[in-house]
């Protein structure tokens, strides 16, 4: 969809960014030493640190990605919310306090406090760098997606803008300003989302009037071909002399393509696409759907016309409607429970899309409505990724039972995702470094509790924000990440401006935390500890700042390269890699006395590289990175943690057992 920037949105946005930069410069003047730069002198109050935890954690993916996923796929998006929060339980009960006791500046410090091993420093630093960069990509992609409607810039310009601002923040002040920025942003995010949720509940559920009338007209006159969602019997489409039916070629000739008819009006040359079969809200009729493709000159085309806002141009229509609430037009204001209950029994039209490549390689994306009962969306398995879990594990072909591998792997995929989210939080370097900013274990514990309360409350809000967007007729069918800002726009320009600005500062805050963690890994773990470079305190800070600029530049490049990826999905991968690489080392170091330095190093490398390799060999990577057929992928499902996390543990244990005798010898010689 095309967005026109509003002066109000730009004004509010500029105000937020300037305030954030102002805080950075002001507090930056106070943090000159290494301990100040990386750990805020260990003097951040626990309540502030707790909200800053929420600020760090509620990244663009949490806010934009989850709202979008819920708006498009209902409960499957909420699974992310639940997993993201549950991960904090591991952080609080298992790793927070021991880590605070052991560490100084970084994750590598904590792991290495017992062994003083170069191998551990190297592996932990590499793991921190890889995980931070992996986590940076979706933040940058989110920034690009957000900046487009807000300022009317292209997404790559947005990525560069975020990169530059964040590098300035990190280089000026380090952990003190990052913490305060996160505190302000975390608090604002929770506050404004609460207000927005209140507005959604006050508005209640409403049958979309235009859609309702349109639905009625379609039923009375199913031959109306000029309107989107218009319906027509197949024979009438095929036999009308005014229209030419295109033969199915390329992907259009496959089974899924055969559900569609492409018809060109002879008089105008405009091509319309009609979908039959399962969109069958209108019985056996074909429904006219929206589509986007490229014209011969490379220009974007929508529904057969040039995409734009000019006279002869057209744009995609927003989607996501309620079309029946037990016969009522509107529910009026609802409490949170009633909102869910009314939605469960309502009938909804939710957006779905499919991509087709023709024989001349022209790609067409078709956007259509799925007509479902609310309860189906409020149950796991409504998204295409997890849809197979609703099928039976065995299907019957004639008299024989056939094992359905697709269902089996889909279930493993969901288990793997939930495992990665559970174990990933406590393994994220930018979350771990925040434990060093408070003064003692009790403060670490208390700030985690504040963080859990703020984050938990926020994730409850995401459900209502997502469902609000799903039912307000505002969704951009091409971009689920825009659901929350577009929902805010349905309440007026000011809420839109404020929510967008907060979302943007969300990206700024999270990205600065990540770059700081990565620069700490380079300057402190690699240069000082691994390469044994003699750096003064001042040089250490300078090395960190140079590293921050380099990592920031890498993040900008990757953010542009990965711009077509789904933000939440990328974050899921980052959690998989973090959990597989770091969790075995953390847990075994804390709970198994037999752990050796070789075991830790081997475990980190095994988890890190196996999860990375799995991710790069998965169907999603085939589809989105290499443009290959996802069914030919090397691995059967996309989330690696259920395989690579246990692998990390096994390698760590085996390597530790193999290197035990040395420890025994040392004991004996003592």
């Amino acid at each position: 969809m095309i967005y026109s920037p509003s002066p109000l949105a730009i004004g509010v946005f500029a105000f937020f960014v300037l305030v954030v930069l102002g805080i950075s410069f002001y507090l930056g003047a106070k943090a000159k030493s290494a301990s100040g730069y990386y750990a805020a002198h260990g003097q951040i109050p626990w309540f502030v640190n707790g909200i800053a935890f929420a600020g760090d954690y509620l990244s663009a993916a949490s806010f934009l990605g989850i709202c979008g996923m819920i708006a498009f796929y209902g409960y499957d998006g909420f699974l992310y919310s639940i997993g993201f929060l549950a991960g904090w339980i591991v952080a609080l009960f298992v790793v927070a306090e021991p880590l605070k006791r052991m560490g100084k500046f970084t994750f590598a410090d904590a792991l290495d406090s017992k062994f003083h091993s170069k191998g551990i420093k190297l592996s932990a630093a590499i793991s921190t760098l890889v995980v931070s960069i992996f986590y940076l990509i979706p933040q940058m992609v989110g920034a690009g997606a957000l900046i487009k409607p807000l300022l009317g810039l292209e997404s790559y310009q947005g990525v560069i803008l975020v990169g530059v601002i964040v590098i300035v923040i990190v280089v000026t002040a380090g952990m003190v300003s990052t913490t305060w920025v996160q505190f302000i942003k975390g608090a604002l995010l929770v506050l404004f989302c609460t207000i927005l949720t209140g507005m959604i509940l006050m508005r209640g559920l409403n049958v979309d009037e235009a859609f309702g009338q349109h639905d009625k007209r379609m039923r009375e006159s199913p031959e109306d071909r000029t309107l989107l969602n218009g319906t027509c019997p197949r024979e009438n489409l095929l036999n009308d002399p005014g229209y030419e039916v295109l033969p199915p070629t390329g992907d259009w000739a496959t089974d899924r393509g055969k559900a569609y008819l492409r018809i060109r009006e002879r008089k105008t040359g405009v091509l319309s696409i009609w979908k039959g079969g399962d969109s069958g809200h209108f019985g056996g009729l074909f429904t006219r759907v929206q589509y986007k493709s490229r014209g011969n000159d490379g220009a974007a085309m929508v529904n057969g016309r040039r995409q734009g806002i000019g006279a002869d141009e057209t744009d995609l229509q927003p989607v996501g409607y309620v079309w029946d609430i037990s016969g009522q037009k509107s529910t009026g204001p609802l409490n949170p429970f009633m909102f869910i209950m009314e939605l469960q029994s309502a009938s909804l039209a939710v957006p779905r899309s499919e991509k087709f490549k023709d024989q001349d390689n022209v790609e067409t994306t078709v956007f259509f409505n799925r007509y479902v009962k609310g309860n189906e969306l409020l149950t796991p398995g409504a998204s295409p990724t997890f849809a197979a879990i609703r099928s039976d594990l065995y299907s019957t072909a004639g008299t024989t039972k056939v094992f359905n591998w697709k269902v089996f792997f889909s279930r493993l995929d969901i288990l793997s995702l939930m495992l990665a989210l559970f174990g990933g939080t406590a393994s994220l370097p930018h979350i771990l470094i925040r434990y060093y900013t408070v003064k003692d274990q009790a403060s670490a514990r208390k700030s985690t509790m504040v963080g859990i309360a703020a984050i938990g409350f926020f994730y409850v809000l995401t459900l209502f924000l997502g469902l609000g967007a799903m039912t307000s007729g505002v969704l951009d069918p091409t971009d689920s990440n825009m659901a929350a800002p577009l929902l805010a726009r349905s309440f007026g320009e000011l809420p839109f401006a404020v929510i967008s600005a907060i979302a943007f500062t969300t990206v700024l805050g999270t990205v600065s935390g990540l770059i700081l963690a990565a620069s700490g890994a380079v300057a402190h773990d690699l240069l000082t500890s691994f390469l044994k470079m003699e750096l003064t305190d001042h040089e250490k800070v300078r090395a960190g700042k140079i590293a921050a600029v380099v990592v920031g530049a890498i993040a900008i490049v990757l953010g542009i390269l990965f711009k077509n990826f789904n933000v939440s999905f990328l974050v899921g991968w980052a959690f998989n890699v973090a959990a597989s690489a770091n969790l075995p080392a953390l847990v075994m170091l804390l709970f198994w006395k037999g752990t050796t330095k070789q075991g830790i190093t081997a475990g980190i490398f095994a988890g890190l590289f196996s999860s990375l390799a799995w991710v790069l060999a998965s169907g999603e990577a085939y589809k989105n990175i290499y443009g290959l057929d996802p069914t030919t992928a090397l691995v059967p499902f996309s989330q690696p943690a259920i395989v690579t996390l246990p692998l990390g543990f096994v390698v760590l244990i085996v390597a530790s057992l193999l290197t035990q005798p040395k420890a025994l010898e040392q004991k004996e010689t003592k």
């Binding site: 339980i89 009960f93 021991p98 429970f337 469960q344 309860n375 796991p380 509790m449 994730y459």
Partner: protein, 102 residues
């Protein structure tokens, strides 16, 4: 009445928190609470993957099982975190009564 976080921070017991024996007690408490939450989470994930139709069943409260269980896990995490604070405080008080590990 539950102590507020400020009261906890200010209590003399909080300062003895760095002692290894007390840390070990708190760790054990934490692991028990972790085990409780883990069990609830495993059942939830298992139901999501293997019994989605059960998750879609209505409950007497109105919202379906999936929604109530999901909210339960979120609020449960917050409640367990608060319970942990309280238990750590009790551990610290008992530790102080026992002579602070001396």
């Amino acid at each position: 009445m539950k102590p507020s976080p400020d009261e906890l921070a200010g209590s003399p017991a909080a300062h003895a928190d760095e002692h290894l024996d007390l840390s070990a007690r708190n760790s054990r408490t934490g692991l028990w609470l972790f085990a409780i939450y883990l069990a609830a989470y495993v059942v939830f994930v298992g139901m999501a993957a293997y019994a989605p139709e059960t998750m879609g069943q209505p409950t007497p409260l109105g919202p379906n099982v999936a929604i109530l269980y999901g909210f339960g896990l979120i609020f449960g995490a917050v409640l367990l975190a608060m319970l942990y604070m309280l238990l750590c405080k009790l551990n610290a008080d008992r530790f102080a009564r026992e002579g602070g590990g001396k």
